[in-house]
Structures are given as C-alpha cells and as structure tokens.
C-alpha cells in the first residue's frame, strides 16, 4: 500500500513565478487494485506519479511505502515500510527498480536498439545474470504476442506493439506496482480496450496499478476499482 500525507510539489520555488503542481494531496493506494487518476491536462496527475514513483521529491509532505518486496536494499526486509521523501538518491533508485514499473505516454523506447534489448535495459544495472534476464524478457515479450519482433528495431513497430514493448520493459524487474501515464493517448478504441484487459490480468496476478487518464475507456472501465479526480493539484472528488 502507498500512503501520501499532505504532499506538495512546487516548481521554481523561491523564484518570481513559483508553480504548485500538487497542492496538499493525501491519498492511499490499495494493493492489487486499479487506481485511476483522472483530470484535465495540467491538473498535476503526472507530477503526482513521479512523486509516488520515487522519480522526484515532494516539496513537503510524506510518502510511505508499505509492505515492500524483498531484495530492495540490504537494510530492508520484505514487508517493511519506508518513508521515501527523506532517502538519498541511490536508495530511491534501488527502491524504484524493484517496486515500480513505468509505462510512459510516449513509450520512451530507445531507438536503433532491438526490442529485446530495450526490454532488458532496466535490469542491466542490477548486475543480474544476462542469460536469465534475456530468458525472462523473451518470455514476457512472447506472452504479449511480440515473439516475432525480438530482434527488430523498435522504430519499426506500430503504436500498439511499441506500447506492449514498453509494458514488457516495465515488467522486467518484476515490480509490485505498475504506473502508467496516459497509456491510451496514442491508441485507438480497440487497442485501448485491449490495454485495459491486460491491466485486468495484471491486477488478477496481484499487481498494484496506478493509471492516469482522461480517457473514459480507462476511468469508466469496470476494472477500475477507484477513480480519483484531480484539478489544479488538488483532489476534487472521490466517489
């Protein structure tokens, strides 16, 4: 479970034009459920994702991660809780690698590199054995129907295929939480439905999912356990 307490993120603090993207958000995200953050662009959804995903630090407030997976840091046991806003960058990266898988709006694949290697990239710095990473990547890609494209360069893929590569990459380190930022922005309705079905499978497999979207296919989906609406950095409604 992830718990946010009065989280504020201000950009350009101290300058003439400070901008508060997230303004006092308190929220708890339950395990093995799909939580959707909904709201217009500029409402602070993406910024909130980066704060939860240990990519950036809040200006104030606290973020607790409960029931961590094992093998994150030598000083932490599986099931421990940790407050992430006070940790140094190295620890944050270690936690992020093991706990979170990211699916970016623009997919953020590295061009000119094969599909397989793109998927393996997040595992490289962990020092895990190359062969086992490769076997896992191949298996993930095959289960997502990309077995034919292993050696292809990523720029030859269609939008839907590229997203599935991004999903396979997000899963390579076997994270407990999957974070997706506007995942259906570049997909047509059928592919968007497929995406949600896939998220349903991950939920069934016990993953915690956190998705931002203003697409009704996502926030209106029966699979979404919880929809949180944001506006101007604040939670406006939570049905």
């Amino acid at each position: 479970m992830i718990e946010l307490v009065q989280v504020v993120k201000t950009f350009q603090a101290g300058l003439a034009t400070p901008f508060t993207a997230v303004d006092g958000v308190s929220l708890s995200i339950p395990e093995a459920q799909i939580t959707v953050l909904k709201g217009p662009s500029g409402s602070g959804k993406t910024t909130l994702l980066t704060l939860i995903g240990c990519m950036a630090r809040p200006t104030s407030g606290r973020i607790h991660l409960h029931r961590l997976p094992g093998n994150v840091l030598p000083q932490l046991q599986a099931g421990d809780s940790v407050e992430i806003t006070s940790l140094p960058e190295r620890f944050l990266t270690a936690i992020r690698r093991r706990t979170f898988g990211f699916i970016f709006q623009q997919f953020n694949l590295i061009r000119g590199i094969s599909v397989l290697e793109n998927v393996m990239l997040p595992a490289y710095p962990t020092g895990e054995d190359h062969r086992s990473v490769e076997a896992r990547a191949v298996q993930r890609l095959e289960s997502l129907g990309l077995g034919r494209h292993l050696r292809a360069s990523v720029e030859r893929l269609s939008g839907g295929e590229a997203q599935r590569v991004a999903i396979a990459r997000a899963l390579i380190n076997d994270p407990t939480v999957l974070i997706a930022d506007e995942p259906t922005a570049h997909l047509d309705s059928r592919l968007s439905e497929d995406f949600m079905a896939l998220m349903g499978q991950f939920k069934a497999a016990g993953k915690t999912l956190l998705i931002t979207s203003h697409d009704p296919i996502v926030h209106g989906s029966p699979l979404a356990d919880r929809v949180v609406e944001l506006r101007d950095g604040q939670i406006v409604a939570e049905p």
């Binding site: 990519m55 490289y124 190359h130 990473v133």
Partner: protein, 378 residues
Amino acid sequence: MRAPTQRYRNILDFALSSLLRRKGRNLSLTGVYTLVVFVLASLIFFVQALKREARELLVQAPDMVVQRLVAGRHDPILAAQAEAIRSIRGVLEVRPRLWGYYYDPAFGGNLTVMANEHEPIAADAVWIGQGVARNMRVNEGDLISLRAYDGLPMLFLVQKILPTESELVSSDLVLMAPRDVRSLFHFPEGLATDLAITAGNPRELPTIAAKIVERFPDARPILKAELLRTYEAVFDWRGGLMVVVLGSALLSFVIFAWDKATGLSAEERREIGILKSIGWESSDVLLLKFWEGTVVSLTAFLSGILLAYVHVFFFSARLFEHALKGWSVLFPRYRLLPALDGYQLTVLFFLTVLPYTAATLVPIWRAATVDPDAAMRT
C-alpha cells in the same frame, strides 16, 4: 546469480549496441584514431630505436677527436701534432684518421672514403658498404672507377662488401689503403683529417682537451660525451619537430573527437533521461559513456601500437622513408632492433586514450545527473 562484474558486462553490452547504431561514424572515428596512434607510435619507436643504437654503438667511438680549424672551418691537421699530444699526461693513444667525402657524379650520391689502418687492404682494392654496392650495382670481385682529384679515373677492385647488419654504421663507406686515399684526394703525406685520441681515464678528458687547446689554439677537440649529446639532440630535434607536427594533428583530432563524441545531441539527452527514468543511476549512465569511450580508444590504441611496431621493426619505417631520405641519394636500409620501453608506451597511452575518454565523459556529467522525471515531462 549476481556477480559484481555482471553489471559492467551488461552495460558494456548496451554501450556496444549503442555504438553500432552509428556504425559508419564510429568505425571511421576508430580508424582515424588508430591512424593517429599509429603515426605517433611509429615515430616514437623509430626515434627511440635509433637513439638506442647511437648510444650502444658510439660508446666504442674514440674518446676524443681533435680537428684543426682554419678560418673557422675544418682543415687537415699535421700528423706531427699527434706526437705532441701523445706526450700529454693521461693520453694513451693518438691515431691520425684519414678520411673524406667523395661525390659520385654517376649516381649523384655522397660517399665516405676512409683509410683502414687496422686491417690492411691491398693497394687498388676497396671494401665497400652495402649502400655503395647497391647504388653502384657492383658485387665482390667487380671493378669500380673513382675520379681522382685531377679528374683521371682510378680503378679499384671490390674485395669485400661489408655485412648488411652493419649498414647503420657502414652503408656509405669506401675503405681503402691509406696510400690510395692520399693519391685519390691528393692528400699530402704528413697531414691527417683529424686525430682520434684514447685516454687512460675518461674523467681526465676535459683536462686533456684544455691542454690541447692551450698548446694548439687552432685545434677543436670533440669529446665523446659531446658526440653522444649531438645524437640525443639530433633525434630530439627531428623527433621534436615531427612531434610538433603530430601534436597539432592530435590536437585537431581531440577537437574532432570532442565535437563528435561529446556534441551531446537532444537525442542523447533524451536517452539519458529514459535510462534514468527506467531505473539507471547517474553512475550507471557514466559507466555507459565510459565504456563507449573506452571501446573506441582502447581498440584504437592497441591496434595503432601493434601496427606501428610491425611498421617500424618489420618494414623499417617504410612510411617515413621519404621524410628521412631528404635529399640523399644513397639511403641506408637498416633493420632496426626493437627498443620498447614502458615509459614511452605509458606516455602514448595517456596522450591518446585519456583525452578521448575524458572528452566523452566530462560533458555527460551534467546530463547524467538529470532528474529521472525529466523523461516524463517531455
């Protein structure tokens, strides 16, 4: 299984994939780089080997040579002065040397004609160096004709050709009996080209030289130390000049490398952002760029050095031949003996590998510390 080396290998894998994306550019970069190392290393090996030969061989040169100066120029010396010098305390032996230059109009080269006093050569016979034999196209047993001072030809029998291995000291030599040298050059009896002096104790040489100048103010003593120093200077000068030229080549290469390898494109910045966002630390990104630089520079360094070694010691620095030949017609062909020393190799390494790797790493530093959420905000 998690070995600490796996991280390095994994990131090396990606560095190679990354380099292979711009195959043409990176291969040509490595090629140019190899060439720079090759030329620099060839030069250093060559100069080093010659310097060592000079040191090793000229240890056997006379302790001191005394010339006579007339109007500021080298002139024959009276053989009688040898007696006076021999009486100076500390002088072991004084040997008048009889030698001179001969310009051969037929092939246009300069020869060094020298009287061999140690091993007697028959009258009208010569021993010649390999370079002379090559240029005149003669073998042992052939006759060669030299033009005497008065323009009349003198015929000599080629009795012996000096061995190939000695070409570094003997290539242009024509050795003959002292009497023949005198009649060829019309060199009067009682005069010598210079005097070679052997001292009992080399430490007394400066004192002996001072006494000679005191006794014969027109004499110019040249000590063996000076002679060796001349060689150090000659190679430093020649080597030095070429290093200046090559230094500028290297500098332009560094600029080129800086431009090419570090001109951090928007694309590269984006990639670093992506890597950070998928869980790479700054140190991982730096390791990646370190590998990218090392792959290119280490490959270039090793192959450049190996090529230079083969070039200098197996092919006698063939590519430098034109620069070294200058205007000479008679060009000695010597096979250099390998002289490698760790210091030179280390200097080369730091001169070539370090700047490039640094040039790839330094500008990355800032980009590598970019916040991981940068990739999400594009």
